[in-house]
């Protein structure tokens, strides 16, 4: 350390660290503390109630519905998104396979990546508005007018308690596939071509090169994607808040934890209780990340 550099380091860190501590760290820490109180959020006074909030939570029917819906999203969203993204990423690569080069972009590779990725750059309300109109339950709704033409009856979509959550899940999948396609595609292009060439010379088919080479070498990326999609599935607040009536959907069919936190914290004056929900959400996130990273851990392949 040269003379004066400590002062320099301190001066560069002071403001950003202060901002981070005040607006990020301290609210996170406070949430844990408030989760043990009966704070309303309005009055400055509150009592320490221990784990009372968590006991109430366990019996809160709406919160359990919300949790259940998040779990459905947690299973469906990553599975569908990763499968679709892998499928398209592989099509982009295999389509252009000539004689020897194993990985070669299909014609229009750049265009497809440009188009598929698009939903990722738009804000959730924009996407939510467009899809809530496409999925309008009237006969003249966009999706229904297409369904009508192929002879399928009109569907209630977001108005149907059995379908509403899956409509939300579909919009999440629709918006995420392009992003993970680009991610997987980048990872696939990073695999050295001579591995594929060797496999092809040995007589491997397209499918077996995919399962024996591409997939194992992509495992790290898939694992990371899984964790991020799981975090996305635990949120879903913005889509639900904007897209479904109520909000929370017919008969709480699209209720999610984020919405419950917002409602309890800001509408019903139960800030302590909402913080307890936040703590549950935090531990769920942590568990999912830990489990996924552990369950899918393999020896890292260096190339």
């Amino acid at each position: 350390m040269r003379h004066g550099s400590y002062r320099f380091v301190a001066s560069f860190l002071a403001i950003p660290l202060a901002l981070y501590a005040i607006f990020v760290i301290s609210p996170f820490a406070q949430a844990f503390y408030y989760s043990l109180t009966d704070w309303t959020g309005i009055s400055p006074k509150f009592n320490f109630v221990g784990l009372e909030n968590f006991k109430t939570l366990a019996n809160d029917a709406v919160f359990r519905t919300a949790l259940g819906n998040n779990v459905i999203l947690l299973i469906g969203l990553p599975t569908a998104t990763i499968l679709l993204a892998l499928f398209f990423a592989y099509l982009l690569n295999v389509g252009g396979r000539a004689n020897s080069a194993g990985v070669q972009g299909v014609r229009g590779n750049g265009f497809y990546k440009l188009a598929f990725f698009m939903p990722q750059v738009l804000s959730v309300p924009v996407i939510a508005v467009i899809w809530s109109v496409v999925l309008n339950s009237q006969d003249s709704g966009l999706a229904n007018s297409l369904l009508g033409r192929i002879g399928l009856g009109p569907s209630g979509f977001l108005a149907d308690p059995n379908l509403a959550l899956y409509c939300v899940m579909w919009v999440l999948i629709w918006g995420s596939v392009g992003f993970y396609l680009v991610l997987f595609n980048a990872a696939m292009s990073g695999i050295p071509k001579d591995i594929f060439e060797a496999a092809i010379i040995d007589g491997a088919s397209r499918l077996s090169t995919f399962f024996r080479i591409t997939l194992p070498l992509l495992w790290d990326t898939i694992q990371t994607s899984w964790v991020y999609l799981a975090i996305l599935a635990l949120d879903a607040y913005a889509l639900v808040a904007v897209m479904t009536a109520g909000p929370g959907g017919p008969d709480n069919s699209t209720q999610v934890m984020g919405l419950q936190i917002a409602d309890n914290g800001f509408q019903y004056g139960r800030a302590g209780y909402a913080s307890a929900m936040g703590v549950v959400l935090f531990f769920l996130t942590l568990i999912i990340a830990a489990v996924m990273l552990r369950a899918t851990r393999r020896d890292r392949i260096e190339y």
Binding site: V24, Y34, S100, A271
Partner: protein, 298 residues
């Protein structure tokens, strides 16, 4: 990280190298037809709703929800846009512009300062601070949202520009620090040392030498932050109820359709919200994809 950037750059260069003599015609093999059919189908599924929304911004409500919602507008109703403007879209746009300008500037400045110090100086607590920022990328915002509201309220900054700007900066720091940290590590140490030997101070070295060298990284993470802060919805919905930003305003306008039934104006507002973002995306799509993929790959 930077490896990821390189890979991304390479893969987007057309890879139409010379084919070996006798290579199959690429356009007509069955696999190729199948690939393109599936890819085009998804491309349509993604783009058609946007194009439809753009067209709907020039239609009347009757045409949007009429018997043939897929038809083109009979006449182009540009007044949808002026009505949207009259409903506050002009204000939302201004609020978004002010907050994103301040937010991105602050994020880039503070984020690169922290990243630079963490990447290039050894001091006690360096690793700790780095992990403190890295952890911020994982935590659900919703855990913090209720206490955050009261923190901002205690500063008297609910529904103010400065409140949103400071919060945006704080919540954008983790990724910016993480990304720029990787970037500063790849820059050669010798140049900074030469500048210091020549008598430049540490901060002069940073602003005059290192920051300009980090331009490609700054561009990627900068665009990422522009898009992220422009599209921010959860934070402003709770922290700025009286001064809505654009994405929040769109959600409010959708809510008010129950009484107003003016969908033409809503789609005009959507168009106003979409066009700048799509333009930025089309111009910088390589950096956008690199920045966003960098956000996920640790």
């Amino acid at each position: 990280m930077t490896l990821q950037l390189d890979v991304e750059g390479k893969s987007s260069v057309p890879q139409q190298v010379a084919h070996p003599v006798g290579a199959k015609d690429r356009s007509f093999s069955p696999v190729n037809v199948f690939s393109h059919t599936a890819l085009i189908a998804w491309a349509l599924l993604v783009t058609v709703p946007f194009v439809w929304a753009l067209i709907a911004s020039l239609k009347s409500t009757g045409e949007i929800f009429g018997d043939s919602p897929w038809a083109l507008p009979k006449e182009l109703l540009w007044e949808n846009f002026s009505r949207a403007w009259g409903k506050g879209v002009g204000d939302y746009l201004l609020n978004s512009a002010v907050v994103v300008t301040g937010g991105v500037f602050g994020t880039m400045l503070f984020g690169s300062m922290v990243a630079y110090v963490l990447a290039r100086y050894e001091f006690p607590g360096n690793r700790f601070i780095y992990y403190l920022f890295a952890a911020g990328m994982m935590f659900p915002t919703f855990l913090a949202i209720v206490p955050l509201f009261f923190v901002v309220q205690n500063f008297g900054m609910i529904s103010t520009y400065q409140g949103l700007i400071l919060v945006y900066i704080a919540y954008s720091l983790p990724f910016t620090v993480f990304f720029m940290h990787a970037f500063f590590r790849t820059l050669p140490q010798s140049i900074a040392e030469a500048a210091l030997v020549d008598g430049a101070s540490h901060s002069t070295t940073f602003f005059r030498v290192m920051l300009p060298m980090a331009k490609p990284g700054l561009l990627s993470v900068g665009i990422f932050n522009v898009l992220g802060q422009w599209n921010q919805f959860v934070l402003p919905s709770f922290l700025s109820p009286q001064k809505p930003v654009l994405s929040q305003g769109i959600a409010t306008l959708l809510g008010s359709q129950r009484y107003e039934n003016d969908w033409g104006a809503l789609f005009a507002a959507l168009t106003i919200a979409m066009v700048p973002v799509v333009a930025v995306y089309l111009i910088f799509y390589r950096q956008v994809q690199a920045g966003l993929t960098g956000a996920t790959l640790k």
